[in-house]
């Protein structure tokens, strides 16, 4: 019983003040980057934001619904290709792009979710891997939409309002993308508060019990999966708005794995942690790895190993772990489950 209440206590929604501080920090970080004169910095950071938002979407499914997923690249791809196609046919309003991408992503995630939310654990992971593979294969083969493996380039920049100039400047694109990414993340955090958060925690920690209490577990998980698809769709639209080109590799298994890594580093249940994790992963891949050409996978793999070994619970769990160790001394770490070695694994 105490373990049950502890699980709820640990999952308590962060107080408003804390959330406000995080928002202020995010705004401050973006402003600091935007103030700097280096325009390559603007572009680099702006291009990190789509993956950060995708990681937030993965964190919703993996951390809150408890379903480790590689499949969020499917709604991400749908959002991206819808946006690219709209822009190429001359519809360049950013709001139209974002709305279409969100709806498209939610529809696709909803369809996939009808099958996937019935599975748990490794089987879910494998099915979501199949989804990621099918996404990449389709993006490579459906030439009429995706331009095949060459991809689509020269996609026109979006406009905020009819009559306004298109979003071209590096700083403008950064501020626009940051606004959308931060706003979408906070909407997701806000939607996952209170009773809904409790319900997902209950379904995750003891599904039978949640079901026995009369909660519709499948329906709830499906709703979360679908909404996360909408979020991934918006991330896909941002991908086009910040990069203005797309190839099937941008929506492939590699991207899905990066997003999952970001969630592991950030801490599965923290959406903001996932976004920060994505930025760390991309700094390693796009900035640090430039120093050692051809060894980006080596650095990412090392990051994976370090993340898994040293950060159980991710960055967001770090302060609590440190505090507990400091107050309790080095020898009183919580004991591992005694029967772990002989427990049935299925």
């Amino acid at each position: 019983m105490s373990a049950f209440t502890q699980a709820f206590a640990a999952d308590r929604t962060p107080p408003l003040l804390k959330r406000g501080a995080t928002a202020a920090f995010a705004a401050g970080a973006v402003t600091a980057v935007a103030m700097s004169p280096a325009s390559y910095l603007h572009t680099t950071v702006a291009r990190m934001l789509p993956l950060a938002l995708l990681a937030v979407s993965v964190a919703v499914v993996t951390g809150h619904a408890g379903l480790p997923t590689l499949g969020q690249v499917a709604p991400y791809a749908v959002g991206a290709y819808l946006t690219a196609r709209l822009a190429l046919t001359g519809i360049d309003l950013a709001a139209v792009h974002l709305l279409t991408a969100a709806i498209g992503g939610a529809v696709v995630a909803g369809l996939i979710g009808t099958v996937l939310v019935r599975y748990r654990g490794t089987v879910f992971l494998m099915l979501s891997l199949a989804v990621a593979e099918v996404t990449a294969i389709t993006a490579g083969q459906w030439r009429a939409v995706s331009g095949g493996t060459d991809g689509l380039a020269g996609i026109p920049a979006p406009r905020l309002l009819p009559g306004l100039p298109p979003l071209h400047g590096d700083r403008t694109v950064l501020l626009y993308a940051a606004t959308i990414a931060v706003a979408a993340t906070f909407v997701a955090v806000w939607l996952l508060r209170g009773d809904r958060r409790m319900l997902l925690t209950a379904a995750r920690t003891n599904e039978d019990r949640a079901r026995a209490s009369g909660h519709l577990v499948y329906a709830n998980l499906w709703m979360v999966h679908t909404a996360a698809g909408g979020l991934a769709g918006i991330a896909g639209a941002l991908l086009i708005h910040t990069h203005r080109w797309i190839t099937p590799a941008d929506v492939g298994f590699g991207v899905a794995a990066l997003a999952l890594l970001a969630v592991v580093i950030g801490g599965a249940r923290s959406l903001i942690g996932a976004a920060v994790g994505a930025v760390i992963v991309l700094i390693v891949r796009d900035i640090v790895a430039v120093e050692v050409p051809g060894h980006a996978p080596l650095l990412l793999g090392t990051l994976f190993v370090i993340g898994v070994y040293l950060l159980p619970g991710g960055l967001t769990a770090l302060p609590t772990r440190l505090r507990r160790q400091l107050s309790a001394g080095p020898h009183s770490a919580p004991p591992a489950p005694a029967n772990a070695s002989v427990r049935r694994t299925s």
Binding site: G121, V123, L125, V264, L298, L300, T302, F304, V342, T345
Partner: protein
């Protein structure tokens, strides 16, 4: 397509399937017994392939040396993975899977750094380079030799798994870990042994596959994906299931590419999804963390 050509393609598919079965058998047992979803399996296969491609020098002695070396290297890799994942006991399957994924990224990059990014092929003894007439068809000798070795390995594997004490312990661990612990055998020792054996089989499969497929930067990912599909289709932890699924995958791959080239990439994913969805009640739910 001519019926006889189809028959030859099917034989190709079965040979390919047996290779995949050798690769996937270890993976499925490692998952079934210890719950380790080893995503670094493909890298061990690729390592075996690279060792075979660079050690062979056109002589029989070098061919044997290459095969043995690839198997030993695979076993060593499996041992390293066993040590790495053992440290994460009690942290759930997802953490172990992610750890092996990180190791796979590192290993794959090291292999490309050492062996370059070209597709390598082994130099086989002259006797294996030609073709023979089988039932009125020209068939490459090296492929027949690989088929023979694959059948031999599968047969030996079957006997070991079903007739020896070690094999029985492994199967018992898949079925009921607590019972194995109850008869005085540490299930963790079995886990480690399974990962080492699984690595050895992966290295061997890599060495056997190179004469047919070559080995390159894409080998690790392709073989891992195929092995995972086989493991999932065959039922997590079931060796006979994996062998059946592997032969199915081999045939679907080779025949599919020849008959319906555009749909071929989807066939396997579709097969896996259908299998998973159809077999829902009996699929073991490896609860991730």
């Amino acid at each position: 397509m001519h019926v006889d050509t189809l028959a030859v393609t099917v034989v190709d598919g079965v040979a390919y399937g047996l290779l995949l079965a050798i690769a996937a058998a270890g993976l499925t047992v490692a998952f079934g017994a210890g719950g380790v979803l080893n995503l670094a399996h493909g890298v061990l296969i690729a390592a075996g392939g690279y060792i075979a491609a660079t050690t062979t020098a056109g002589t029989w002695a070098s061919l044997v040396a290459a095969t043995v070396l690839a198997t030993v290297a695979g076993a060593a890799g499996g041992g390293a993975l066993a040590a790495a994942t053992a440290a994460l006991r009690g942290r759930g399957h997802l953490d172990q899977a992610l750890l092996t994924f990180g190791i796979a990224l590192i290993g794959g990059n090291l292999l490309t750094t050492i062996f370059g990014s070209d597709v390598l092929r082994p130099r086989m003894p002259a006797a294996l380079e030609g073709t023979v007439m089988v039932a009125g068809y020209r068939y490459p000798v090296d492929r027949l030799a690989v088929l023979a070795v694959a059948v031999l390995v599968a047969a030996v594997g079957y006997v070991v798994l079903h007739r020896s004490r070690a094999g029985r312990l492994i199967r018992a661990t898949v079925d009921d870990r607590a019972m194995v612990a109850g008869i005085g055998v540490n299930p963790r020792t079995v886990d480690a042994a399974v990962l080492v054996t699984s690595g050895a089989l992966a290295g061997l499969a890599g060495a056997l596959a190179t004469p047919i497929l070559g080995v390159g930067p894409g080998t690790a990912d392709t073989t891992l994906l195929l092995s995972l599909i086989i493991v999932v289709c065959g039922g997590l932890g079931s060796v006979p299931g994996a062998v059946t699924a592997a032969i199915g995958v081999g045939v679907v791959q080779t025949v599919g590419v020849v008959t319906v080239p555009t749909a071929a990439p989807y066939l396997l994913i579709a097969a896996m999804t259908v299998t998973l969805v159809a077999r829902r009640p009996t699929v073991p739910n490896g609860a991730a963390s």
